[in-house]
Symmetry: C2
DNA sequence: CGGGCCTTTGATCCTCGTCAATGACAGTGG
DNA sequence: CCACTGTCATTGACGAGGATCAAAGGCCCG
C-alpha cells in the first residue's frame, strides 16, 4: 500500500517540520470561486494548505449526487490520500489562496503528514457524529458552530458556502437547510445578512451550542 | 500537537516496517465478548491490531447515546489517536484476540502509523457516504456488504454484532434494522441463521451490491 | 417453570424529502 | 432605461419513510 503511494513515498518524513532542509513548498496559488484544484482519477502529486478562503472536498456518487466530505478553512490541509490517484474532487468555495507541497526528487517535506492524517481523521469522525445522530436542526446548528469556531472571538462572519453546499455537506436538502436557518432566526440565535444571506451574526452562542448536544 | 501525543511521539517512525529492530510488539490479548479494551479519558499508550474476532470503537454523547464509529475485523488497526488521551471506547464485539504495540523507551515501532491513519481516514470517509446519502435499507445493505468483504469467497458468515450494534453503527433504530433484514430476506438476497439470526447466508451478492449504489 | 435477553412485527406520529411557486437581485441585450 | 433570464433563498403543501411506543415469540439460564 505505502509503496504505491506517490505522495507518501516521497514525502513521508515525519519529524521534519516546516523550514527543514530542501523545501518542497511551491508558490501560492490564487483561485477564483468554484475553480477546480483537482479531480477524481487524477494523479496525486501534492498536498495543499489553505492560506485564505475555503475549499470543498467532495465525491460524486454513481447516481450523480454530490457529497461534500469536508470544508477546509485557513490553515487546514487537504489532498493527502492513501493511493496515488485522487478519490475525490477539490474546489475553491470562494476566492481563495492555497499552497501546494509537491514531492520533489530527494526533497525533504517540511510537514508532518501523520499529524495531518490524524487531524483529518478526527474531523471525519466528528462529522460522523453530527450527521448520524442528529436532526436537521441539530446538523445545521453544528455546522454554524463549526463555522463560528473558524472565526474565534468574532460574532459576525461570512459562511461563504451556498445553501446547496451546506445541504450536500450535511446530507439534507436545500429546502430543509433554509427552514432550519429560519428556525434559528426565529429562536433569536442568529441573524443573516447580505444579499445571499450567508453572513451570520451570532446572537446567542450558548443556545447554539446547547442545540448541538 | 504532535509533541503532546504520547503514541506518536515515541512511535512515529514510518518507513520502518514490521520486523524492524527492537520490536514494541506485546503478547496477544484474549478478550471475552463485550470486554473493554480502553475507555474515553484514559491515557493512550498503545495501538492495537485485531488478530481474531471483532472490536467496536464508539463514543457516548452527552445524552448517553452510543455511537459506533467503526468495527475493526481481523488485520485492522485501532487506537491511534491525535492526542495522548482516549477520545472513544474500544470493546470486543465477541470473543477476540488483539495484539498491542506499546511505546517502549527507544523502541522502534514495527508499523507504519501514517498508513494506518490514512486507511482509517478512508474508512471513515466511506462510512460518511453510506450514512449520509442513503435510506435505511441501503445502509443495512452496505453494512452486510462490508461484512461480506471481510469474508471473501465465503457466502456464509457470522456478523457477530447484535442488531443494537448495527443500529448504533448505522444511525438508525433496532426496529428499522430488523425490518430491513426482513426486506432483504423477502427479496431473496440473504438468509439468516442461528439463534440470534446473526449468521448471514448470501444468496444474491449482485442484488445486494446494486442496492448499495 | 419463570425471567431475561434479543429479535421481530404492528400501529401511530412526526420529520424531512419532494414538488411547486414566489421574491430578491445581478447581468444581458434591446 | 426596461424587459428578460438566470441564480439563489425561502415558503407552502403533501406524502413517504423512519422513530417511537407497544407487544409478542424464541431461546437460554436459573
Amino acid at each position: 500500500m505505502l509503496q504505491d503511494n506517490a505522495i507518501v513515498k516521497h514525502m513521508a518524513v515525519p519529524g521534519q517540520h516546516y523550514g527543514a532542509a530542501e523545501s518542497a513548498k511551491d508558490h501560492t496559488i490564487r483561485l477564483k470561486a468554484d475553480e477546480t484544484i483537482y479531480s477524481e482519477g487524477e494523479y496525486a502529486f501534492a498536498i495543499y494548505q489553505v492560506e485564505a478562503g475555503a475549499v470543498r472536498i467532495y465525491r460524486l456518487t454513481p447516481s450523480g449526487q454530490r457529497y461534500i466530505l469536508s470544508f477546509c478553512g485557513k490553515g487546514e490541509w487537504f489532498g493527502l490520500e492513501t493511493g496515488n490517484v485522487r478519490t475525490d474532487f477539490a474546489e475553491a468555495v470562494c476566492d481563495a489562496r492555497i499552497t501546494p507541497f509537491r514531492a520533489n526528487r530527494n526533497a525533504v517535506v517540511p510537514v508532518d503528514l501523520l499529524n495531518i492524517a490524524l487531524t483529518n481523521l478526527a474531523k471525519a469522525q466528528h462529522k460522523q457524529l453530527v450527521i448520524t445522530e442528529q436532526s436537521a436542526l441539530k446538523r445545521v446548528a453544528a455546522f454554524v458552530h463549526e463555522m463560528a469556531d473558524g472565526h474565534p472571538g468574532d460574532c459576525e462572519f461570512d459562511m461563504m458556502m451556498s445553501r446547496s453546499d451546506i445541504a450536500d455537506y450535511l446530507g439534507i436538502t436545500v429546502e430543509t437547510v433554509a427552514r432550519c436557518f429560519t428556525k434559528l432566526r426565529e429562536k433569536r440565535i442568529l441573524c443573516l445578512k447580505g444579499r445571499l444571506q450567508r453572513v451570520v451574526r451570532l446572537l446567542d452562542r450558548d443556545a447554539l451550542i446547547s442545540l448541538t448536544i
